[in-house]
Amino acid sequence: MTAAPVNDEKLSTEKRSTKTPTGITGLDEMTGGGLPRGRTTLLAGGSGSGKTILGLQFLANGARHYGEPGIFVAFEETPARIIANAETFGWNLEQLQPKMLAFIDAQPPPDLVQSGSFDLTGMLIALEEKVDEMKARRIVFDALDIMLALLPDAAAQRREIYRLHAWLLEHELTGVITLKAESSNSGPFGFMQFMVDCALILNHTMVLGVSQRNLRVQKYRGSSFDENESPFLIGSSGFEVAVSRTLGRSDVEVTNERISSGVARIDTMLGGGYYRGASVLITGFPGTAKTTLSGAFAEAACARGERTMFVSFDSDANEVIRNLGSVGIRLERFVDDGSLNMVSARTITGSAETYLVRIKTLAKAHRARCLVVDPVSTLSKSGNELTAHSVAERLIDWSKAEGITLVCTSLLDEMAGQSEAGSPLQISTLADTWIHLNYVVQAGERNRGMSIIKSRGTAHSNQVRELILSDSGITVTDTYTAGGEVLMGTLRWEKESAGRHAAEAATVAARLDSARLDAEEAELAARVKSLQVELAAKQSEKLVRARSAEIHESELALARERMSQLRGTDEAPDLPRVTR
């Protein structure tokens, strides 16, 4: 059972050993490990496409990082000029010479006189001497076309190419032959294409005045490779090829860690903040506080002690710091202690690719854990539309791979409406969290509305909130909903205070009412009492009257009796009773 893994390992070692790493960012990824070991690679491109630099970097990296000595055969330029041109890349070519790197000046003299046919045997013999002397493993023939042009016909050119190829194979040298070629399949280029094991094509075009460099692996015998044209850049340390997805890269580790957005209410709205390593997109029109929000994020990151890089395409670093200071975001202290790197990218000109490579290099140098790009939409400015989308994609891809939490803002064109999808960048689909800021114009004032359009993997509030900037920072408030209308700013304030006033008035009115009722009640009670008294008086009066009438009656009866006694009358039965 143990035999199988051993075999596997053996196989993979063997597989690895068939490739010679170039040490060039992106190129090794594209080719699955480098150029074919002991074989010939054709490197073709127009003038100024970067062939010489690529060839030289292949040798310099071999010598510096892989312990493989190399020879550079220069047909077009003097070695001194090539070395001088490459000085800025910091490859320390002087230190590598002569043990690890040798230059052979094989320029044909300008006043060369030809008489009859010749071949390149002499060169190969001379090189053989050099190869043995240095134990060279790599060799670059720069601008072989110059030498081939001296040959009288295509047949002679082919013969010499064959000779060179056979020589390279015989000595198991990993060779790179550069060739000027504007169009494919013509002349020696077309012929060499078929012969070599690997062919790389460089091209340099201008799209609307912006330089675009692309590299393509045209063929690679016996190996899989990235077949797409990949943009590349000649940066401060040489060649860098931009590859979006490296072959066979394992998935990035994901985390549930949440980090603060810098605004407490936004954290709450997102259910705890951004995910670590997420890509956050903040879109909005100019002046909707995109920079402020991203500044708050940067401040929070630095306050946690995380190294952060803030790339501003709009303004200078100091301006950004000053402007953010006015809303209570103080970044200066973090710049001073070195945890925050403010980068003004206003000065960088060039393709979207250039920006990306610069950002990557700077972030790497700063060891940034959090990155702000403000605004990322700069990438898609004129001339860059074609590549901008893939660049933004790679920016997100790269930051994810590095575990960097990325906050980028994107300017929306007012004319383009509110959909970010209408912009050439279209990174809203790639971003994990998308916060949209907009203006709400009501009653002659603009207020900032904030909403979370999407946030992958987090529960989030779907309410539009109002964003308020003040000296003390950013606050997010609930909007005032009244009668189906969402109110913000002073309208909201007015409505709110009007509401408060109304409530107060109602309380007072209620109190007044109850007092009035009390009074009425008291009055009624008083009236009841007085009536009762009057009633009692009337009753007693009535009683008195009745008594006096009784008395009067009885007195009358007595009187009548007495009178009759006195008169001596008999009873008169039907005598009407006399009353008063």
Binding site: A106, L112, V113, Q114, S115, S117, F118, G122, M123, A126
Partner: protein, 114 residues
């Protein structure tokens, strides 16, 4: 015709047809135009690769003139004698026969003794 001695160094790579052809052509040229006043050194770079490296011999065969025009190089089998004679200031060429001739050739011709 002056009696100046012409010294040549001919670099060839092994005993290949073009090496042999170059040697034969050079010998013939010298016999014809410089009888009795030439010296030829033949260097086989296959046997002496260090020299090829040292003298930057990349195309073979290469004829290097040592005297009287040091450093002039002619590559090839030397089958076409015309340009060689011009460079060496020999041959039947007259100045007025070459009105479009380049300056350096013209200067060579000036030095040509009558």
């Amino acid at each position: 015709m002056s009696e100046e001695i012409y010294r040549f160094r001919l670099f060839v790579a092994g005993e290949k047809p073009n090496s042999l052809l170059a040697i034969a052509n050079l010998t013939e040229l010298c016999e014809t135009h410089l009888p009795g006043r030439h010296e030829i050194e033949i260097v086989d770079v296959a046997a002496n690769p260090k020299r090829a490296l040292l003298e930057s011999i990349f195309m073979t065969p290469t004829l290097v003139s040592v005297m009287p025009y040091p450093g002039r190089r002619i590559v090839g089998t030397l089958s076409n004698t015309e340009p060689i004679l011009q460079i060496l200031g020999l041959g039947p060429a007259q100045r007025r026969d070459f009105p479009g001739m380049k300056d350096r050739h013209a200067s060579l011709l000036v030095r040509q003794p009558d």
